[in-house]
Symmetry: C2
Subunit: 338 residues, 2 copies
């Protein structure tokens, strides 16, 4: 199968690494026929791009450094590339925009319309437009994969969507943001919020503007995805009560520690008696007996409550280039073969 | 599809309950055409048995209490039933025999030979004869499901076998026996081994003869299953170093608690440099930072180490009628439909 890759940051580059690794292990790997970025150029070749050259080129800072070759097209913009590409799989890995999901939602729609399977690491399209994208994918009989959007390659989506399909998920709660969990874990060791945030920034876990993480927006996007894909919801951003961790002080942390409790920023979804989903993002005080209380540092976790199985908890990586690339690979392998 | 059910203990009865529940939710459920027990009779009807009557009959203590009906055959023995039954799915839920796996292995072989899909909750056939059964299932193009054999319905097998299929599992360790984990958890609260064992027996978690649990045989059977099904092994009982928990004293537990550690009976498999699998069952002292250290009571857990994803831990029920019946149901749903 031919792949068109939209976005070429850490996730896209790790995916190329993963393909090269699989190739060296003797696997047949798909061709990457196109790669498009917003500011670092784009490439298309109908018979496939050279993965090692692609890696070399992006490390120079611009895809212009990719060697010239007969049939190579440069600098098609994203939408133009989708229109011309002879590809069976579209991978969307551009940056998450939680305001309107664009331009990723338009890319995803166009790729499905052109008959490509859609795999996205971008949370925006799934958080904001899942029902419409799912309907379109079904109409076109194409696969829609989004394992990478929650807990990177840790299979939170696959388990909820397929492994549990004989049971009902009645509630979900979890730690879906590694940055805030790292900050709270550091505060357990005595750092102030400001010191812990700075440590996270120095390690590259938090961005210069940490708002998306510390105010709970990233967790909110995952809550939307889980509610709408695994629990049949149709929630929007405004439906999710949201509170971040920036107001939590060292004293708050110390007080709970004295009570054998820990603060954790949880995303949670439960079903009310009338069938409506109640979703929220907020710091909660967890007893040390709670499996989520022991999840420390940048690790993520999800607990599903089910009717037939009781509670099942999954703990694993929540981010990271290779872990996220694995999610794309796992989705790729799940595309039904004719 | 028609199902033939071998064994009708807690698991088989819970499976009937689950089917009745699914039916009441509006699902189309498979027919149970035959049920066979060793000492409580057997029933066969080509057009299906009545599930509510089946439940009533077994609660009297013998399937003789099932109402008479034209076409009903009674008291065929297990092998005879497999030979005559018009069924597409064989579910094996008789008691695990870790010495030679019989008569379950013969039943499984015969059912596959007759072209039935095989789903087993019985650990014996998978722990002792997986390579041969898998080959036979492949030759006959039939499904072989064994989710129920490890951690009941908690999807330890499905995740390792399918969800991670794009990655390599490099090691597995876990808490695979709820009885011993309950005993060790009670000892953390100050009970002696003998007191904790008695408490487990009173609650029905341990049997009158607790050897299979406390000496690690049950954990060993799960280690064999995981090694041979998820890590490509071909291990036998003699290949697994085994030590139980009956020698652990309250003093041992107290000493580790003083060091912020807990004793847990772990099953583990790792790959040596020469590619061989090293499998063992033994009590280990876990730091409280280890996700497995916090798994308490009868709960089970498995940690997979993978090349692309790092460590992923799954925590959930390890036993229970409905949780195990869910595993059978999940396997049933995974049978490829024509």
């Amino acid at each position: 199968m031919n792949i068109l890759l939209m976005g070429f940051g850490i996730v896209g580059q790790s995916f190329i690494e993963l393909l090269l690794q699989k190739q060296s292990e003797g696997f047949a790997i798909p061709r990457i026929v196109g790669v498009s970025t917003l500011r670092r150029g784009s490439l298309y070749h109908a018979t496939g791009l050279d993965l090692a050259e692609l890696r070399r080129a992006i490390l120079t800072g611009h895809l212009d450094a990719y060697p010239e070759e007969a049939g190579l097209k440069r600098d098609l913009n994203g939408m133009a590339l989708i229109e011309v590409a002879q590809a069976q799989v579209f991978i969307e890995s551009t940056y998450t925009n939680l305001r309107d999901g664009q331009p990723a939602i338009d890319y995803c729609r166009a790729a499905l319309e052109r008959g490509m399977h859609l795999i996205t690491a971008n949370k925006g399209p799934i958080a904001l437009a899942y029902p419409a994208l799912r309907t379109l994918a079904e109409q076109k009989n194409r696969y829609l994969g989004f394992e990478a959007t929650v807990m990177s390659g840790t299979p939170a989506i696959e388990i909820g969507l397929n492994t549990f399909r004989g049971a009902h998920i009645t509630a979900i709660r979890g730690i879906f943001n590694g940055t805030t969990n790292y900050i709270l874990t550091q505060m357990e060791s005595g750092l102030s919020y400001t010191e812990a945030l700075r440590a996270a920034q120095e390690l590259g876990y938090a961005e210069a503007d940490p708002t998306a993480d510390v105010e709970g927006w990233d967790t909110l996007s995952k809550v939307l995805i889980l509610a709408n894909t695994l629990m049949g919801g149709n929630l929007t951003v405004a439906d999710v009560a949201r509170r971040g961790i920036s107001h939590i002080t060292g004293q708050d942390v110390d007080e709970e520690r004295a009570n054998n409790r820990r603060w954790k920023l949880l995303g949670s979804i439960e079903r009310a008696e009338d069938g409506q989903l109640i979703a929220r993002v907020e710091p909660q005080r967890l007893s040390l007996e709670d499996p989520l209380a022991m999840v420390s540092g940048i690790t993520n976790a999800i607990s599903y409550s089910t009717d037939l199985l009781g509670d099942v908890t999954l703990i694993g990586a929540g981010a990271g280039g290779m872990a996220t690339a694995f999610a794309l690979w796992a989705d790729y392998l799940r595309i039904p073969r004719p």
